[in-house]
Structure formats: C-alpha cells, structure tokens
C-alpha cells in the first residue's frame, strides 16, 4: 500500500474512514465471540501502534518483546499474564491492560501459526503514550522525578544508578553535557537503543536528564 498522496486524499480517505469504523467496531466486539481472520487483522492493525509502543516501553523493562511474540494463548490466559505482570510492577494502567489483552489475543492466539513477524518497528511510531501540552517556555527537569522514571524505563539496560549494564554507563557520560545529542538519542534511538519518543513525555526526558546530572 502506497502512502496517500495529497491529490487522492479525499477519495481514499472515505475508504479508509470506513475501515477505521469497521476496525473500531471489531475492537468493541473483541471481547465476545471468536473473530474471523480478517477481523483479527483489523484489530491488530488498529491497536498495534499503541500496543506495540506499550510492549516496548513497559514489558521490555524486564524482558525483550520476543518473549511476548512467541506465545499463542487464548484470551483468558493473556488476561492472567498481563495481570500477573501488573502485579509484579509493570507500569500498565487498567485501560492499557485492556488494550493489550485485546491486541495480544487477536495477534497471538492459539490458531496463529508459529512463524509470525517479530513486533514490527514500522508500526511503533504512531501514538505517543503521553500527550504533550503546548510548549510553554523551556522545560525544567526535576531530578527526584527523574530517578523513578529512569528506574522504570531505562534501568533494565543502563543499570542501577545508571552505572551501565546491557547499555552504556550514563552516570558522568559526556553525552549529558551535549543536551541536543542526549535528546536526539532518547527521542529517536541510536544503535540497539530503541526510540523512546512515543513512550516518554518531554518532561519525563528532562527529569531523567536532571537526575542523571546528579549521578
């Protein structure tokens, strides 16, 4: 499917709008009877941007998403799994848990073949988890808040106290003095580090930066 050009926007738009409406309807139905393959595809396509961002931001604090993608579970077992993870400290709201269960049970149910694509990074960039308020002057990071945000988002790779682990040590890392490079890396990723622009608000990133400067 090609990107929609400006000229055919209206015609294509109508078609798409109807797909979206069908998608929304299917999402509403997902809790009930088993879906057809086409319905599942719609649920997956509709929910994927946000669900995959959540998986990357919340689940991969403790484990890579490959562990999620290899499961083939019915809805009740997905529910139990997501609740278990919340109980263990995954930062997932009730509403996010519901969305994840709908997505996971449509995409990774027992009828799906073993070989599926890994979570597709192309689907990841869409909806930010947090909405940015209109910019009101420069952001001031709060180090105390940054400590908690770091623990739940960054520590898995960058280690306790930012002393390094799977990812580089960030305490006293020269990148902290180059704020533009720091922001660029967090927002858009670098090498094996994924982009966090969709998972962290600008205030979150400023808070993390402020906290890292104290390390």
């Amino acid at each position: 499917m090609e990107r929609v050009g400006p000229r055919d926007r209206d015609g294509a738009g109508m078609m798409m709008l109807s797909r979206i409406l069908i998608g929304a309807f299917v999402v509403g139905m997902a809790g009930g009877a088993a879906m057809t393959g086409a319905q599942e595809e719609d649920v997956v396509a509709t929910l994927a941007p946000r669900a995959e961002t959540l998986i990357l931001a919340r689940c991969s604090v403790c484990h890579t998403p490959d562990l999620v993608a290899q499961q083939r579970l019915p809805k009740d077992r997905w529910e139990a799994t997501v609740q278990k993870m919340r109980h263990w400290g995954a930062e997932i709201t009730e509403e996010e848990a519901g969305l994840l269960v709908r997505f996971l049970s449509a995409r990774y149910h027992p009828g799906v073949p073993d070989q599926l694509p890994p979570l597709d990074s192309e689907l990841r960039k869409a909806e930010p988890l947090t909405q940015e308020p209109a910019a009101e002057g420069p952001l001031v990071g709060v180090a105390v808040r940054g400590a908690g945000i770091f623990e739940h988002n960054c520590q898995a790779c960058h280690g306790t106290g930012a002393t390094g682990g799977f990812g580089p040590k960030l305490a006293k890392n020269p990148i902290l003095k180059h704020e533009d490079l720091f922001w660029e890396t967090v927002l858009h990723g670098r090498g094996p580090m994924p982009a966090w622009g969709a998972a962290l608000s600008h205030q979150d990133i400023a808070d993390i930066h402020a906290w890292l400067l104290t390390k």
Binding site: M1, R3, V4, R9, G13, M16, L17, R19, I20, G23, E41, V44, A45, T46, A48, P49, S60, V61, C62, H63, T64, D66, L67, Q70, Q71, R72, L73, P74, R77, T81, W88, G89, A90, P110, P113, D114, Q115, L116, P117, D120, E122, L123, A126, E151, H152, Q155, A156, G159, T160, G165, F166
Partner: protein
C-alpha cells in the same frame, strides 16, 4: 473554527494513512513467514529470548557426549547478577538457618572441601514446552534446553556437615545473586528437600567441563542436583538456608509445579494437588540426521542420546512407520549414572522421498517414553517421542 476542523481532519487522515500503511506492511510480511523459519541453525545457540538471555542448543550438538560450554543451553529469570556481586574478592557463600555453626566461605575456603566430579544431564523443566497442546505460556523451548556436562565442585553434604544440621531441618533453601530489574518482582528463591541436599551426588559446582564455571552458567558457583530438573540447579549461588519448610514465594509455591494426577487441558486449576518438579523423566533425542536433511539410499547412521532421572537407560528404539513397529538401537559410549547414554542405529531407507524417524527410550524402572506427555498448565516435563523428518534421495 473551519481552520481547526481542517487541521483535525488532516491529523485524522494522517493517522488513517499510517494505520493502513502499517496494515499493508504487516500483510506484506505474512507470506515470507509461511516458510518454516528457524530451521537453519548455524549459530552456536538458538535464541529464544534476548534479555534475559534464554537460548537452546541446536540438537546436532548432541552427537557429542559432552555439550560444549559455549553451546550449552542458557536459562535464567533475571540474567547474570551485576559483576560486583560475584567478583571473587567479594563473593561469599553464606550457610545459615537451622544449623549449629553459620558459615561464610570464600571460593578458596570452599575449595578446601573434597573435590568431586560428576557427569550429569542438566535440563530445563520447560524443555519441549512448545510441543504441549493446547499451548501454554512460557519460553517456547523445543528440543535443546538440555545438555550433558562434567561438573566439578564440592558435596553440599560436606558443607552441611560442617555447619551441623539441626533435627528440625527438612529443606534447604537456595538463593543466587541474580536480581530482578524491578524490585516488586519476586526473587528466584528455591529449595530442595534435605534428603536431596545431603545426597552424596548433590554438589556445588565451580567448574564445567574442566573450565571455571562461565558467567551464564552461574559463576562462580551453582548447584547441581543430578537426575533432577534444572529448576533446582541454582546459579550464582550466595545463600544456603537450612529450614523446616519449603521456600516461600512464587518460584517455589506457584511456579515449577505439576499436578499429581493427569488433568484435562485448560480445565481451570486442577482439583489435584500440585507438587514441585523434581526428577527428570525418561527421554531420548535424535541428534543426527537433522530435521529437513537429505540422506542417501545407502545405510544412514541415525544417532542420538537418551537419559532418565534416577534410572539407567535400558533400551532405545526407532520407528520408521509412525510407531507401528519399533527396532532397537545400539547403546554406545560412556555409561555413567546421571549422564545421558549415546545410541546408534544403521538405517537402510526402503524408498525415496520423505521419511519420519521416531525414537523412544525405556529405563531400568520400566518407564517408557510416551507418544505425548500429559498436559500440564505450565508445560513441564515434556518427553514425547522425538521425531525427525528427512528426505531420502532417489
């Protein structure tokens, strides 16, 4: 008014375009996935989870008696501990609980105890989980979360004797230095019954296949409970606590348990009680030829391994007709109590085309490897007949 309307409509279109683009991309990816991926196993390990690192050994490696350290399967709940926690200068093993004399030992202290070497199979309780139907949650291990290695260390009973176990003691709790990323996740705390802990073959190993224990395998010290599944073989061991009861917490009281009697799949939690996974069950694997291999019409050497928890392997049989008839393989090589037994069979294919080879083992206790394993909620102890499908050349 109209401006903001146009804006939100544009935003809406962008979203729609994005979603459709994503859908198209997802669809485009589908056909490629129809081919069986993961069949080509060229690397030293088949990775199941990147972090924490969980990886299995490609079965072709099981043509050798000992599984090399760098190919040996890796499984942990949290990955290796921070380097500082297990650096030899600071590392200590503490023995406490229901004992007369608490111990705190350096690695050097530990090596003063008698040095013991045991060859033993270590197998993940979830090895073969991917074959259970209906599917169950967890790392989808196939055939290679198992290996056979030479473990060198000291007897746990020698340490416990020095510490002086009190009469009320019934269990020995084992704790490694590995920690979850998020503090609200339960620790991987396990215990074994005192009887197993004081068994002369239960050891604390600091060497694997003659080399210092590698980090991924529990450096500097891990537990080896020969004949038992690897959920008892705690890595990065730092604390031993002798106590009256089983370890508390998720990884002993909820996880790593199986129903005492068979239950219907997904029948809700079993009415039967759940007991800890302990001894291994009789099992065999075909190491060669590999799945999907092409073989000639001349005699083909089929070989593999077979093991059981607390009994010796007595026979290994192969079937080339989906289990209707079985032919006995020849047991070869080393014969040690807790190690696996190698076997060979000279196969003369009768016809060209696709052929399936099945194998099953029987142990001295009379356990026979079943066609499939009883379903259990966490998919433990899979030991169904092993199967390899090859193409016989015309």
């Amino acid at each position: 008014m109209s401006d903001s309307g146009a804006l939100s409509r544009r935003t809406c279109f962008q979203r729609i375009a994005f979603l459709l683009g994503g859908l198209a991309l997802w669809r485009r990816v589908q056909p490629a996935q129809a081919e069986p991926a993961g069949v080509v196993e060229t690397g030293p390990q088949t990775v199941r989870v990147m972090r924490p690192y969980d990886a299995e050994t490609p079965v072709r490696e099981f043509a050798s008696y000992l599984t090399p350290n760098h190919r040996f399967f890796v499984r942990s709940h949290f990955g290796p501990p921070e380097a500082a926690l297990i650096a030899e200068a600071d590392w200590r093993l503490r023995v406490g609980g229901l004992i007369e004399h608490p111990l705190e030992l350096t690695l050097k202290d530990l090596k003063q105890f008698e040095r013991i070497t045991i060859t033993a199979v270590v197998q993940c309780s979830g090895n073969g989980r991917a074959f259970h139907r209906p599917k169950v949650p967890g790392v989808q291990w196939e055939r290679g979360a198992v290996g056979n290695a030479q473990w060198t260390g000291v007897r746990l009973r020698d340490l416990l004797a020095k510490a002086g176990v009190r009469p009320a003691a019934k269990h020995v709790q084992l704790q490694g230095a590995d920690r979850p990323v998020v503090a609200s996740v339960p620790l991987f705390t396990r215990s074994i019954p005192l009887e197993k802990a004081v068994h002369p073959d239960t050891i604390l190993a600091y060497e694997m296949n003659g080399r210092p224990l590698p980090l991924l395998h529990g450096a500097p010290l891990r537990v080896i409970t020969p004949g038992w599944m690897a959920d008892s073989c705690i890595k990065w061991l730092t604390e031993i606590t002798v106590q009256a009861d089983e370890a508390k917490g998720y990884y002993m009281q909820t996880a790593y348990r199986v129903p005492v009697t068979a239950i219907q799949p997904n029948s809700g939690l079993p009415g039967t009680s759940m007991v800890p996974v302990e001894a291994m069950v009789v099992k065999s694997l075909i190491a060669s030829p590999g799945n999907g291999d092409e073989v000639g019409r001349g005699p083909v050497t089929v070989q593999g391994v077979a093991w059981s928890g607390e009994s010796a392997i007595t026979t290994v049989e192969l079937s080339f007709d989906e289990g209707r008839t079985w032919e006995q393989a020849r047991l070869v090589g080393e014969d040690e109590p807790y190690a696996w037994r190698q076997w060979q069979f000279l196969w003369k294919p009768k016809a060209a085309g696709s052929a399936s080879i099945l194998c099953r083992a029987t142990d001295s206790a009379g356990q026979v490897q079943p066609q499939t394993t009883a379903w259990n909620p966490s998919g433990f102890l899979w030991n169904g007949w092993d199967r390899v499908t090859v193409t016989v050349q015309a």
